[in-house]
């Protein structure tokens, strides 16, 4: 046993298409017979990440890796980056445009929810270069 990896591109500006990566991940986790609560947490956190990439970064790449003891989800984009990560982590804080908010997104709950559902979350971001969010879910 080593690792199972797959990646999907997340199409920017396509709200309908967001969710494809988390859906694929979810069906594979089901095939592994993992418990439904864990699968739900992974899928919801990953979906929030996909939406974030659509709203703020014109898309990106979502990668899932399954190790014997953990699942890691890496959401990597080359968007505008986050200026103040601490502020971005606050519930309700949002830099989404009005047009995005009109669609019902951008309520400032994305990152806080991802942190809530994952066992561990690491964010690396550089303004003008992009953001990488890594979510870790432990299996044992």
């Amino acid at each position: 046993m080593d690792v199972i990896v797959w990646s999907s591109e997340v199409d920017g500006k396509n709200f309908e298409g967001a969710g494809f990566a988390s859906q694929t991940t979810r069906s594979k986790l089901k095939q592994l017979g993992l418990n439904s609560d864990l699968i739900r947490r992974v899928a919801i956190a990953m979906y929030e990440g996909e939406i974030n990439m659509v709203i703020h970064a014109d898309g990106g790449v979502a990668t899932t890796e399954i190790f014997p003891d953990r699942i890691t989800i890496t959401l990597r984009d080359t968007g505008k980056g986050i200026e103040n990560i601490e502020l971005a982590m606050k519930e309700g804080y949002s830099t989404a445009s009005d047009s995005v908010r009109d669609l019902g997104f951008g309520a400032g709950m994305g990152l806080p929810n991802m942190k809530k559902y994952a066992d561990e979350m690491i964010i690396e971001s550089e303004v003008g270069k992009g953001t990488t969010v890594c979510l870790i879910f432990r299996l044992v």
Binding site: M1, G19, Q23, Q31, L32, G33, R40, A43, I44, P68
Partner: protein, 418 residues
């Protein structure tokens, strides 16, 4: 009472008629069908009895399994349970009373409306939605296909399913009580028979999906019963009983009928198996966070679209609307029929999801199989042509890792090798 058979299958395949085309296999929402040796086979552990394979089969090789009409003769006193969709099956009959009372002309002693159970469930649902700590959204459990889909495929939503009895089971108990009260006969002399519009309701009763204490003795098909009813001249039917169910109870025959009974919060109603699956997928992904109640019907248009009905679902739907409009003229109040129905009187056990898609019960082996599955999927052409006998290349790869198929069954793989 019916003997519970957990392995009951609602679909029968006539091997002589099956041509081995891939139509049913492609339509199956749980990928339960494979074509082997030129004939379709169903894996009943995955089958949710949605009836899509029956609906789609061009050669009429698939039929629903139900009891023969003469089963009712085993009982002294026979009661027919009538689903609201039955009242919309006859082109020239506007009065539901005529249909209901004609049951006595074809061998039944009495009849009982499932819509009365629906009135009770509506009232119970309203009460539940007023309570605290209810799952959001609450999902209706009236369509057994949708219940099984959630249990098999959308596990994350099992806790959202209602845990009270659905209309059919409640009506069956009420019909039995009424029959015992009216006749004074012993329980074993009373036969309660449901006239089913679909394969799934039959399966849910025979498998004891909701309760193992099923008060039904047999399940007939709406098809058989309608053909028999058609031979009864209207002049010979004596209309002694009127319908008791409310206009809103009758609404349950069509999609959107159940939610029309709920005033609180935001509701959503989806019908047709693909639409239902889209909604379940979005719900499981946490996308539809502002919905309070969800009604799901696997058949297009709701129960009027069941595969055992004789009438076109849209015609049936329009008839049900007219019947409801007429019903409104003389009764509008559901409360009288329902009394003080409380959710705790109709409590079910918590739903237990069953993962029918896991590759292995052992995690280490499942992990290895998923690895193989991933690399196999890359090798396969991705045409999803179905010639190997599996609905998609990925499903075929799944079969290979589970030793149910060999890669040589792939036509593209074979020709490339040559």
């Amino acid at each position: 009472m019916i003997k519970i058979d957990k392995s009951f299958c609602a679909v029968n395949i006539d091997k002589d008629k099956c041509m081995g085309c891939t139509n049913c296999m492609k339509k199956c929402p749980t990928e339960a069908i494979r074509v082997k040796g030129g004939k379709a086979q169903i894996d009943f552990a995955r089958c949710v009895s949605c009836g899509e394979c029956i609906r789609t089969c061009s050669y009429k090789a698939k039929t629903s399994v139900y009891d023969a009409l003469d089963i009712i003769n085993k009982y002294k006193y026979k009661v027919a349970l009538l689903p609201p969709s039955l009242f919309g099956q006859f082109k020239n009959v506007m009065e539901p009373e005529l249909v209901a009372n004609a049951m006595k002309n074809i061998g039944f002693d009495d009849w009982f409306e499932v819509a009365r159970g629906a009135d009770i469930v509506s009232s119970v649902t309203r009460e539940i939605l007023c309570g605290k700590d209810i799952p959001k959204p609450l999902i209706s459990n009236a369509c057994p296909v949708c219940v099984e889909l959630i249990l098999y495929r959308y596990h994350g939503l099992a806790d959202n399913l209602m845990t009270t009895l659905p209309p059919l089971e409640i009506s069956a108990s009420l019909a039995r009580e009424k029959a015992a009260h009216d006749t004074g006969l012993d329980d074993e002399d009373i036969g309660i028979f449901f006239i089913s519009p679909c394969a799934a309701k039959i399966c849910s009763i025979k498998r004891g999906l909701y309760t193992e204490n099923v008060q039904i003795n047999g399940v007939l098909s709406a098809w058989d019963v309608c053909l028999k009813l058609m031979q009864v001249p209207a002049s010979e039917v004596s209309i002694r009983q009127k319908l008791i169910a409310s206009n809103l109870g009758l609404a349950w025959a069509t999609s959107g009928g159940e939610v029309s009974n709920i005033q609180k919060g935001r509701q959503l109603a989806a019908d047709g198996i693909l639409n239902v699956m889209n909604v379940l997928r979005e719900l499981e992904a946490g996308k539809l966070t502002d919905i309070d109640f969800v009604e799901l019907n696997a058949c297009p248009g709701g129960c009027v679209g069941g595969v055992l009905n004789i009438e076109n679902p849209f015609v049936c739907k329009s008839k049900i609307h007219s019947i409801r409009r007429n019903a409104l003229l003389y009764k509008t109040n559901t409360v009288d029929n329902v009394g003080d129905a409380k959710p705790e009187d109709y409590k079910l056990n918590e739903w237990q999801p069953v993962n029918v898609f896991k590759l292995d019960t052992n995690f280490v082996r499942a992990f290895e199989k998923l690895q193989q599955l991933e690399s196999l999927t890359k090798e396969l052409p991705g045409y999803d042509c179905g010639l190997c006998g599996a609905p998609t290349c990925r499903a075929f790869a799944e079969d290979i890792v589970n030793n149910r198929a060999e890669i040589s069954h792939c036509v593209k793989y074979k020709t490339d090798k040559v």
